[in-house]
């Protein structure tokens, strides 16, 4: 009886072993933007539930970190909240003889956070740039209280930092701008400091108020809402990107195709961003 049980157990083990040997685990590595990490993890989670053979590993670190990982070959997909730089394309060309592949996967609005008690609610893009460049240092210069403006921003490896610098500040940040690791930290800091200002994804703005932004003095002030971001009337809107070394194949292609499908795009608004269409 014991011997029979042992034989049955061995046969079952062999069958399981053979069965597992036909199950392929296709691993895809995704690294980069902290802005996109929650969205990317959501995509990975839902995709893996529908495709048990797939393994999608998502980490953050910042858009710069993700693109550097793409260049040195340690990631399949680089998430980025800013367009790739020409210098990064040159490195892809040198290493892979390829210019890389850019895939826009979602839309986002960059909100300028103000403390709810701040009397200032509207600023032009130029004023926001001058504030973060350190050229406007007191709220009274923009119609607010006589108080020094406290600046909060992101580290330079952040795509949010890069996008904000290239499109709003357009010069170096003020040396007094305090660097914080992540948008949530910026929101927390602005929430506690009445005379502070920060920036980050519109989805993170809880407990602070969004600044209404004007393209120039004559334009209307626009708040970052789903509608104004989708139709690009909010002046600080951006695409969120996935970058690859070359055209995707295999599991990577299947994952990206799913992200761009209605099923993948349908998850975006749950996380606080906006679908492409």
């Amino acid at each position: 009886m014991k011997a029979t049980k042992l034989k049955v157990a061995l046969i079952v083990l062999v069958v399981i072993g053979i069965g597992f040997s036909f199950t392929t685990i296709n691993k895809v590595t995704v690294k980069g933007s902290d802005t996109m990490v929650i969205l990317s993890q959501k995509w990975a989670e839902v995709y893996m539930k529908k495709n048990p053979g797939a393994s999608i590993q998502v980490t953050g670190g910042g858009s710069g970190v993700g693109l550097a990982a793409l260049i040195n070959g340690s990631t399949d997909i680089a998430n980025s909240s800013r367009p790739i730089k020409p210098s990064e394309v040159e490195k892809l060309k040198a290493r892979y003889n390829s210019m890389g592949v850019e895939i826009a996967c979602a839309k986002d609005g960059l909100s300028v956070y103000l403390n709810k008690a701040n009397t200032v609610s509207t600023l032009t893009i130029k004023q926001i740039g001058q504030i973060f460049a350190g050229k406007i240092t007191n709220w009274k210069e923009v119609g607010g209280a006589d108080a020094t403006i406290k600046l909060y921003g992101r580290e330079s490896s952040s795509g949010t930092f890069g996008f904000f610098k290239d499109n709003v500040v357009r010069t170096d940040f003020s040396p007094t701008c305090q660097t914080l690791p992540g948008t949530a930290a910026i929101v927390n800091a602005v929430k506690k400091d009445k005379y502070s200002i920060g920036y980050g994804g519109a989805a993170y703005a809880e407990g602070v108020k969004d600044c209404a932004v004007k393209k120039d003095d004559k334009s209307p002030a626009i708040l970052p809402t789903g509608t104004t971001i989708k139709n690009h009337t909010y002046p600080i809107s951006r695409y969120l990107y996935m970058y690859l070394k070359s055209k995707p194949t295999g599991e990577t292609k299947a994952f990206i195709d799913w992200i761009l499908s209605p099923a993948g795009q349908g998850l975006i608004e749950e996380v606080g961003y906006f679908p492409l269409k």
């Binding site: 340690s74 020409p86 003889n97 390829s98 210019m99 592949v101 170096d172 070359s246």
Partner: protein, 461 residues
């Protein structure tokens, strides 16, 4: 009756005592927990403040150290040579008459550049050697200022390869000023051998740009960063003698002439087709000073007498194209072409002798290469290159009378495997094919055997 009274009194006494709670050991929970909790919070707050005080100066130091970047690479290789024997005349000495012996043409020496060939008395058919050992230090103290120092380590010396300051304009993010010792503006020269697939640079680059670097200044304009126009223009001025003559003379200029280089490139991208095309043009304008009077040869192959201080032409124009395609993974076709006049004075002791153009005179030259490179996933790379250098356009075949005027074509093949992102192994084969001339005769009646197979291991960080 008495027993009942005693029982009642005892019972009443017990009840009376049970009401007294003066020194009850169970205190009210809410008051005690809040106090001790507050105390605990205060103690932890003090510890956090103390940690913050310790970490703040460390954060400053980390910020300073993060401004220094260190990178480098090492290439160790095993070469196998297929070099032929060449006749060497041993002059008469004492009672021994002059005789001709056959020694191996020295591997890695030029087969056409010297009238007296370098030879080995004992054949060397293979060797290990360290091709590269470099560390590059980049320091960015403030936005817009970069210091770069790159020493090269070899068996007998540590030499300086790069030493320059790069100033970036922080107003419109378009201009850069480079001052110091750095690569001359040329696609192949600026492409690091860390990333190159074919084992060595082309013959053309080694002749036109000895040691790749020079001392000078460069203004670079890149319209892509701020204006999204993919146009780049470099204008540079150099001493013009780096990599030439004795090493002690290379640290300063040897005359008052400067060499000027202009290079412009434009990039086209077709993302839907996965295609990128970079193309450009360049010009080099300089002069070579004569330091040894004597008979020289001009571009028409006619002799002339040059005196010390005379100037020889050194100028050419060039064009380049690189095409990148995402067809079946990364594939690239790269080509460069240069045509003009090169000049020099033969003799390794001459102040501005170009060891790769060891000739007294001016020559009308043409050089070009075509390279095809393919990436196979992230682990494999392969490439094939054809490069050609004709040091004298005016003569060919049996019209050529000097070995230095013989044209040389070179085929190069290479294949690499990446163990990790920082380590790779490559196998390469190089086949120079020289023009033949019965007028030059000797070994130049046929293609000189001088092929090299290389197995190279590279580690970078």
């Amino acid at each position: 009756m008495k027993k009942i009274i005693v029982a009642v009194v005892a019972f009443g006494f017990g009840i009376a005592n049970a009401q007294e709670v003066e020194n009850d050991s169970i205190k009210p929970i809410s008051t005690i927990s809040l106090d001790s909790l507050q105390q605990s919070i205060n103690e932890h707050q003090l510890k956090f403040d103390a940690l913050n005080e310790q970490l703040s100066p460390m954060q400053e130091q980390v910020d300073r150290m993060s401004k220094i970047k260190i990178s480098g690479y090492m290439q160790v290789q095993f070469e196998m040579y297929n070099y032929q024997d060449v006749p060497v005349v041993i002059p008469a000495a004492g009672t021994s008459p002059a005789k001709t012996v056959f020694y191996q043409l020295k591997p890695n020496s030029s087969e056409t550049n010297y009238t007296i060939l370098n030879t080995n008395t004992v054949d060397v058919n293979n060797s290990f050697n360290i091709r590269r050992a470099r560390i590059k230090f980049t320091y960015q103290p403030i936005e817009g200022v970069i210091f770069v120092l790159q020493p090269n380590f070899s068996f007998s010396a540590v030499t300086l390869k790069d030493a320059y300051v790069q100033l970036n304009d922080t107003w419109i993010n378009t201009f850069q000023l480079w001052v110091g010792q750095f690569n001359r503006p040329d696609y192949e020269v600026e492409f690091s051998s860390r990333d190159r697939i074919i084992m060595e640079r082309t013959r053309m680059s080694s002749i036109l740009y000895p040691q790749e670097r020079d001392l000078g200044a460069k203004i670079s304009m890149n319209l892509a960063t701020q204006y999204e126009i993919p146009l780049k223009i470099d204008i540079a001025a150099f001493n013009g003698n780096f990599g030439e003559g004795p090493i002690g003379n290379q640290v300063t200029d040897v005359d008052s002439e400067k060499d000027f280089v202009v290079r412009t490139t434009y990039s086209l991208q077709f993302p839907k087709q996965g295609l990128g095309i970079d193309f450009g043009a360049s010009g080099y304008y300089g002069k070579n000073t004569v330091f040894s009077a004597g008979t020289y040869s001009d571009v028409d192959n006619k002799p002339f007498t040059a005196a010390v201080g005379d100037k020889l032409k050194k100028q050419w124009f060039g064009a380049e194209v690189q095409i990148f395609s995402d067809l079946l993974g990364g594939i690239a076709l790269k080509t460069e072409f240069n045509k003009g006049v090169i000049s020099g004075t033969s003799g390794v002791a001459i102040l501005n002798n170009n060891p790769s153009f060891n000739f007294s005179g001016e020559r009308d030259f043409t050089g070009y290469y075509v390279t095809l490179e393919k990436n196979f996933g992230t682990k494999f790379q392969g490439g094939v290159r054809y490069d050609s250098f004709d040091p004298n356009n005016r003569l060919s075949g049996d019209e050529v009378t000097l070995s230095q005027d013989l044209k040389v074509h070179t085929w190069g093949f290479a294949f690499h495997y990446f163990f990790t992102t920082n380590t790779k192994i490559g196998l390469g084969y190089t086949m120079p094919i020289n023009e033949t001339s019965t007028t030059v005769s000797g070994i130049y009646n046929d293609d000189v055997k001088n092929n090299i197979a290389t197995l190279r291991f590279q580690a970078s960080f």
